[in-house]
Amino acid sequence: MDQPRKKRRARRGEPLPEGGILVVRGDLLDPDELESDARDNFDVYGFYGISVYAEVGGVDVDWIAGHKLRRAEWLVLFEVRHVLGAGLDLWDTGLSPHYDVVHADVVELVTRLVGCQHRLLRNVHYEEGGS
């Protein structure tokens, strides 16, 4: 049976955010879930990617937490410089402020991201899924 072709992921063509910019992912960093998400992304778009949001285009962590990630009780914050310093790429995929953290090897992607310096923050805008 023919496999469906991978989709071409839209890139915005923006310059990389500066090193001190914060990158946010909703929920705790669970390596198994990260790997599963990266593999799902590969199956659709043809690259291993982990979705995050960045403080670009006039939005900050507070806005991201309240608009994009309000169902996440926990937020993980990275700095762009630490993500790139770990040998990971940051692709400006979809609509701003969405990005994918990317590496050609899925195990390296997860290991390097989990190993990046980061902070865990409780989401002050958290709204439980049933609310």
């Binding site: 929920d27 659709v44 169902r71 609509l95 049933g130």
Partner: protein
Amino acid sequence: MTAPDIALRANLNNEDDEGRNWALLRDAMDPAAIVEGAVVTAGTERFWSWVRIHRIDPDGQVHFEQLDADEARRISVERRSA
């Protein structure tokens, strides 16, 4: 409130090119229940939401948008009475 059974395993960080969340149909508890317009729960036990299914692509990518519980209830009632 305890998280309900999740109808569509998903990561709510994921966004498609139109800014909607997405998941894969293979991760649905009952793929037959994932149809356009359906209101279901999506996510994980820790990070979930009521959602409305927007579109299902031939490759199994499911696009959806998050709803508040009140919206989910209202839309479900409307769909049942339609």
